[in-house]
């Protein structure tokens, strides 16, 4: 990968970190609120279903998390193992795509 592409990944990691910082704060607050009021399928679905704002929030959250995880895993593998080159880049893209599809599927199922 070229130095320019590596620099782009660095920027992606920081930009997604800023989005995730806000999203995780909201997510943590939601977790504490949800467990406080008692978790049941009825309460979860009443809060989530047909809510376009939360759907939009979680689609952005999942996109940022999927990119952040893919780039982060690639960085850790490059620093701690001998694995390099296009095969690692493809594996990182696959990891991001897997998380993106699984996360969006769950978010659409819960909120749409």
């Amino acid at each position: 990968m070229t130095a320019r592409a590596e620099a782009s990944l660095w920027i992606v990691q920081r930009a997604t970190a800023v989005v995730l910082a806000l999203a995780v704060l909201v997510h943590l607050a939601t977790i504490v609120y949800a467990v406080r009021t008692g978790l049941s399928a009825v309460s979860v679905l009443a809060r989530t279903q047909g809510n376009p704002w939360w759907l939009g929030f979680y689609l952005v959250f999942v996109l940022a998390a999927a990119l952040h995880a893919g780039v982060g895993l690639r960085t850790i593998i490059r620093e701690m193992t001998p694995w390099r080159g296009p095969s690692l880049d493809i594996a990182a893209v696959c990891a991001s795509l897997f998380l993106l599809v699984a996360g969006w599927r769950a978010a659409i199922g819960l909120f749409a």
């Binding site: 920081r14 970190a17 800023v18 995730l20 910082a21 995780v24 704060l25 997510h27 943590l28 977790i31 504490v32 467990v35 406080r36 978790l39 049941s40 399928a41 009825v42 979860v44 679905l45 998390a65 995880a69 982060g72 895993l73 850790i76 990891a95 897997f98 998380l99 699984a102 996360g103 599927r105 769950a106 978010a107 199922g109 819960l110």
Partner: protein, 113 residues
Amino acid sequence: MTWRARNHPSYWAFALHRVSGLLLAAFLPFHFWALSTAITGAARLDAFLDWTRQPLVISAETGLVILLAAHLTGGLRLLALEFLAWPNWQKSAVGLSAGISLAVGLLFLLNAL
């Protein structure tokens, strides 16, 4: 690198950020799978939520909340180090990150029990 060079707060903050990131990445597919049970009906989600009421699962969830908070606060510390010119408060930032993470975990645990 010698052990002595590693045994300082910034190294432990780096190690915790890396380990929490790896564990959170490994947890995400299971989290998405659990949420997607709601797609197939409220009964399946309720069965899953019943399963999560075991003490061992609540302990694991508390650990995950602490990991998420630790990755958040450790990430904010990194962003501050990289983008702000505040070199003299690194130890305080590490302490603050750890304190906030544990407080969030405790808040979760007290509400979950």
